[in-house]
Symmetry: C2
Subunit: 223 residues, 2 copies
DNA sequence: GGAGTCAGTGAACAACTGTAACCACAGGCG
DNA sequence: CGCCTGTGGTTACAGTTGTTCACTGACTCC
């Protein structure tokens, strides 16, 4: 009986990753502690200057323990990319499939971005910073994932009736423009966050107008 | 007679900064050596991880000599921002005042950007990297300068006949969009530089289309 | 021509870095 | 139950870092 239940527990059952052995559970816990601590430290520096010891110190663990979880800081960074962009992923779905009036759609998109930035500022800061940052594998990971996002947006756009007569390449161009614009907007909210609420309002206004202009361009693309 | 010529030399005569004392000239020379060396080192790391000793070693000078020129690495960074964005400045002038057909104008703008990136890749990489980077004073310096660029573009746009009926705020919004798009384009050329020439062509196509779409949106803004 | 300024040197500092070897001990498995 | 695996701890090492201080010697100025 106990051997049977143990057997079931240590399987990484699809969809239910929770019931792991106590051992594995503890490991993932400290692993997550590394990721969280790193994210905090990265709020005021970039990954290429983040020290291994700095992270372990923040977690409250021996320096060498780091190697049990990541081969290097760069790999920790790649993992953070996954985490951060996974949290951003649902956002692109709901913005791409928004309904209603043009102005409403744009305003709603900006609102969603603002909400996300205020919910996960550290994640957003990390992505914005390392997007062009000094650690090549991390840069590549971000670029790859953003390319996937653009691909997704393209598919979503293709289903809209406004996209009739659009070539596949042009749709991807527009999708990329949206994705990039989303990140730029998020970054602007980031700086507005540590400024006045009036600045936040200004950013809302400006970025909404930007989206509007792009949307208008989209409507008259095939003239 | 010699005292008279010396007197003239050591004045920082307006417009002619060349005839300084031998002393000052040598100082500015090593100062420039610091900036150049730093720029090279920054091609594969970000400023927040750039060490003082690393720079002095590259210049071939004692570590302490650094302090004769900059109080800290961050100040070196701010100076690099000036240098890099000054080299980028003429570009925004010539793109904003471009003439001709819409497609021609956009293609020419992309061409100018591509040319600049290939002429000063290190400058562009530095700006793109530190734009959201980990050193606050540098970030601020870049943002301030980019805001000035946007202001300039706004003024240039206002003179165009297409800008009739545009509010000042909307013009600034458009100008900011152009400036940001310019940097994003430059960054994309940067990654294309260390890739295939076909990738470069793809970037040319996509970014030109992006500008075109924005330009179309501009035309139909007041409908 | 003599005094003074100052860019650059060299040695020394305490603090820090990544990483290696070895050890302890709790959880998992037969 | 007892053996083994493996997370995490400990100690140590060799380099590196930023910054200080007193110094030299060439250039500048009167």
């Amino acid at each position: 009986m106990p051997s049977l239940s143990n057997f079931g527990e240590r399987l990484l059952t699809a969809g239910m990753s929770h019931p792991l052995g106590v051992r594995q559970a503890q490991k993932q816990k400290t692993r997550q502690a590394f990721l969280d601590a790193a994210l905090v430290l990265l709020e005021e520096q970039s990954l290429s200057s983040l020290g291994l010891r700095e992270v372990t110190r923040a977690v409250g663990v021996a320096p060498t323990a780091f190697y049990r979880h990541f081969p290097s800081i760069a790999d920790l960074g790649v993992e953070l990319v996954k985490e951060a962009l996974d949290s951003l992923h649902p956002l692109i779905g709901s913005t791409a499939s928004a309904e209603g009036d043009r102005a409403e759609r744009c305003a709603r998109a900006v609102d969603l971005i603002a909400g996300h930035v205020e919910a996960y500022p550290a994640h957003v800061r990390f992505i914005a910073r390392e997007w062009h940052g000094g650690v090549q594998p991390v840069r590549e990971a971000i670029r790859r994932q953003l390319a996937r996002f653009a691909e997704e947006v393209k598919v979503a756009l293709a289903q809209h009736p406004e996209s009739e007569g659009w070539s596949d390449e042009d749709l991807l161009m527009l999708a990329g423009l949206y994705v990039d614009q989303m990140l730029m907007t998020a970054s602007q909210f980031l700086v507005a966050l540590e400024s006045s609420p009036e600045e936040r309002d200004r950013v809302v206004r400006v970025t909404t107008q930007r989206l509007l202009l792009i949307d208008i361009g989209r409507d008259h693309w095939n003239d």
